[in-house]
Assembly symmetry: C3
Homo-oligomer: 470 residues x 3
């Protein structure tokens, strides 16, 4: 499967496939608009070359690591660095372990992304496997050393027109300042992700809030000052091109709490830990404050609730976040977002993009809410459901209730830099396959199909994340 089939992911039925091909031809070469990634901005600021395929494909993507570990590969074998100093494999050894277990990825989107990258980005025809591991390691490492494979050159070649990274407000934005100073400003922008200064159960919270005060020169010893700092820091982000914020609360609960209560929690947390329900109360209140700030400054508010983080506490302690198993759980958006939507659901400058990993909430809750509140947009299929089947089910669950115009466009959520084009390509193929079925069943005209394919591939994300009002 090293040669990519031109019709991959298109419908099996010949009639549907012909329509899907036509639709796909109309969008395959559109620029890539990336409003939500986990790319490290310093890679671009410094235009730092990548060194080897292990770094590119394995180390950068904890879903790859997870799949290997779940079948008994030891973390050290694939290069994971434990906090207790266990010796880990070299990049080449870890790459071998990955290549030997390549069959484990059959059926997953990861497999299709990596095959896409090998063929289209790296232009190799060597199939991935235990026998070819060393040869591929050498071949790709050599390729990565050429100027054409420096991060900025790749971004250019990929046709990325806009790329937002994810950034904490209490840390400096050096990389983005450097990018802004050069000729890359406006195309690569930060996203305001304040979880670290909102979640009172994070051990580093007092330190983070102090740092937040320092980076924007505001006294954060009081709750009032903390709010000022957040507002001020949002302006810094906006100056660097940011158009969105990002929030990953455990539960989708947002509700005002009495100001006095919140001030007391804020104060108490500076010197000690709080109870779980107090942490939740503060987070829920802050989502309201942050929605208000977004309604004021126009930054799109992205919400992706419903994940139990670090389910595996021993792995988390040894190897840190992302390796500790983040597992979705059921959400109740109807009750959880009640107060937020009742307060800001019609605010004219406000856009709320809600993602969910609980597919049951799509047709039952999220689509009907979005089919009512003007401010609400339905986020793209997210995370490990950014798979062909997951995307298809998402479109099917949402479109009949909310139509095609209440989404927020595609976002690739990329961690692996060279996977960006593969992700957009997969989404475009899956969307065209879905639209082709509607056309084949005479539910949509072919011209309408082209319109919607362009909308989903690029225009809708631009409309939501780069609105004219900015």
């Amino acid at each position: 499967m090293t040669t990519l089939h031109p019709d991959r992911l298109l419908p099996a039925d010949a009639g549907e496939r012909a329509i899907a091909r036509e639709l796909y031809e109309g969008v395959r070469s559109l620029p890539l608009f990336c409003p939500h990634t986990h790319i490290d901005p310093s890679v671009l600021a410094e235009d730092r070359p990548f060194t080897d395929p292990y770094e590119v494909f394995v180390a950068s993507d904890h879903y790859v690591l997870r799949t290997l570990i779940s079948r008994g590969v030891m973390p050290a074998e694939i290069g994971l660095i434990s906090r207790d100093g266990e010796p880990e494999a070299s990049a080449r050894e870890a790459w071998r372990a990955f290549a030997s277990n390549w069959h484990l990825f059959r059926g997953t989107p990861t497999r299709m992304w990596i095959e896409h990258q090998l063929a289209e980005v790296f232009g190799t025809t060597t199939p991935l496997g235990a026998e070819t591991a060393d040869a591929l390691f050498d071949e790709i490492s050599a390729t990565l050393a050429t100027p054409e494979f420096r991060p900025r050159a790749l971004l250019q070649r990929f046709g990325v027109e806009f790329l937002a990274t994810t950034d904490a407000p209490h840390l400096p934005l050096n990389a983005h300042e450097k990018l802004r100073a050069g000729d890359w400003g406006g195309r690569v922008v930060p996203t305001f992700r304040p979880d670290a200064v909102i979640d009172l159960d994070k051990p580093g919270w007092p330190k983070a809030v102090e740092q937040l005060g320092e980076v924007c020169d505001v006294d954060t010893s009081t709750y009032e000052g903390y709010l000022d700092a957040l507002r001020s820091r949002r302006e810094d982000f906006i100056r660097l091109g940011a158009t969105a914020t990002d929030h990953g609360p455990v539960h989708p609960h947002a509700a005002w709490a009495p100001r006095e209560t919140i001030e007391k929690l804020y104060e108490r947390r500076q010197t000690g830990a709080l109870e779980a329900d107090e942490v939740e109360l503060f987070r829920s209140h802050m989502l309201m404050e942050l929605a208000r700030m977004s309604a004021d400054d126009g930054m799109v508010m992205q919400l992706h609730p419903g994940v139990t983080r670090n389910h595996d506490r021993a792995m988390f302690r040894r190897y840190g976040p992302d390796i500790g198993a983040d597992i979705p759980h059921a959400v109740n958006l109807v009750r959880g977002l009640d107060e937020l939507l009742n307060n800001f659901g019609h605010a004219s400058a406000f856009t709320l993009v809600v993602f969910t990993l609980d597919e049951t909430a799509l047709a039952r809750e999220l689509a009907p809410l979005a089919a009512h509140y003007p401010a609400l947009r339905i986020g793209a299929p997210w995370w490990f459901l950014d798979s062909p089947g997951g995307m298809r089910r998402h479109r099917e669950a949402v479109s009949e209730v909310a139509g095609f115009y209440k989404g927020a466009g595609f976002n690739d959520d990329a961690r692996c830099f060279t996977s960006i084009p593969a992700r957009h390509d997969m989404a475009r193929r899956v969307d065209c396959a879905y639209l082709a079925q509607l056309v084949a069943q005479h539910r949509l005209g072919i011209e309408e199909g082209h319109d919607v394919a362009r909308l989903w591939s690029r225009d809708q994300a631009r409309e939501v994340y780069l609105p004219d009002r900015r």
Copy 2:
């Protein structure tokens, strides 16, 4: 897309489509049996002509209004009358606003229903859009003024053989009495929907219960009198042809409470408000009382729980119910219906039809319960899930567990009068497409397919709502 494709909604695969066509031919012209609608009976009693397409397509259907508002169209622009006297658009202006936003309905069943009506009911070939809005407004208004488009003539032409409206027990049934007196008796009948006199949190409850006492001349100042009035009023409905009741509780909970407790709640509510849990306790108890009444008088009990009504409180206050966002939430039918099914699940004269908007409950709870309790029937896909995809998922979730014979037949849930044939036609097409796949995969014989298509298109609803025992 103004010309309707004869194969719309049938499978894309040529082999499956040929089978689906054959099945559909066998049911396309069957009479329409409509056991559950929200048609205003006075329209039929007075045979009052409709005036314009805004009234017919937009004002009558809050799903149309919702879709427009959710994309930023202001309520006044589409003719919504606010309680604070804001001036609203004229019918023609509102129709223009609708026509200019017609693309928002792509992918929704509403779009297919309206196209069906334009082509099949109104016989127009003018495509809907901003440029044609005025011409269409005039054309359809003129058509509606002809005698062939009076409500009764339309009903005749549509082939409607039975149509149940939804009626409150505390209000007079003048329209139905008039229909009964004429030659329409038996074909258009009321449905007993007592929510207004059951839900103790409705502000108008004390008044409604007083009115209930008046219309049936029973003293409702005591709980005993209230039960007598309900029983007596059910007899009035039955005399006018009613064969079913309808209930939309927030949660699917039914359980006996101590008589004394219920009597006290009933008494206290007459002079003041109750707590939320008291309201729920009363409602849950009343579902048991109403099930007992149904087991006694044979009226089919329809239950569609699981909706958070008027989620958007400001819109509700300004524009009233239906505009306030009714959003489904998750339900637990296993525990919620435990006591009701244990009491009446085998009662010989009792039929309980349960609908759910929580699709997750279909295969997991509703189908297994129906595959056990003789009294339980699975309601048709409901509400905004009465979409091609929603219906298909419903059939797939339910049929393998409960077979084809535990449903309650199709119901159109129509609000928009002229949409009735479009809804039945869509359901017949979707059902035939599903059955065609079973035939194509050699899971069902073609003759069996014809049998089941007829059952689902008409016979099953007749069997459930017009049983021989009546």
Copy 3:
């Protein structure tokens, strides 16, 4: 439909069907590996002939009984023996009632299994129906009297290479000892299912625990003795070839409770009933103890939580278990299995197979958990979701997240002896149809498709239930 179509259940699309056929040809004749059945081992130990089709198809399968009762057939008509001595129909009469209602099974897997058996196992061409009921009864009864239809001969003919029954630890294992003594040892083995001695709310618990002590000669009057008895009894099972345990808790909750608390509950239950939450606490603690035992002795732990048993209490009282309506409910695996997975999720000798009837938990919870914890395997579609659509949805929900290698292989969960080949054949067809789509959409190579088809049809179950380490 008495002649089975060779392409039944394969895709309707011609291209996909050709691929599916090729894949299916590669697995259709593989031996049957049956790690989880409800076959009575004494039937095999004594090689006792079956008497008539009522016994084989109807009486042995409460899903057949349930479907009939749910449409108004009286339990006595189909031969159910009530505890209050109501006279029941003879086998022939009950078979007639079943045959007359054969249409009720359209669309269900039961119908396909029975048709498979009639054609392939019994070689009859007589179609099932009211008119043929007596003829078929006689024909099949005669066939069953021949030596070729004795249970052991059938097992041989079916190609069953391994079959595990389900057995209570407090009862003697005479049948298995007899099988072990003969030439059938190793092929037919018991499964350790201790629910009866774990669930403190079972009325027979004190007696069962006493019996447990007796069969393994350990004093179970104390909690310590009880644990010893369980461990000792597990060794007996292992000696008879058992490789797995089986647990059906109401909720998927497992957590250590203080030893002292558990000992007190154990003691108190010997003389009286406990509260519901105490029963749940004990069960939840015991799942931890049993996981620890599995991590020690290597028996695969099978968990299928989330069923409300005997929902219909009157039917349960009259006709006993299985007739009382077992209905699935929603589960929370993320929280419920937290402690168990944190304790044993990486234990090297431990395998936990989790089944769920709550399909919503598949993509959201079970697949992500399995894609992380090495010890966790995803159970096959279970119970009445062992239907073509249920299996397909299962594959689609799980594969993109966890790949193809974290399952536990197929198991037939058979109660009806002669249905075993039909169940495996259906699963193989459905899996090949799914894989054919992936191949047709160029997501999987055809050779990979063959590999995975073999894995799912047989090899994965062998790997999990007969690991080399045993």
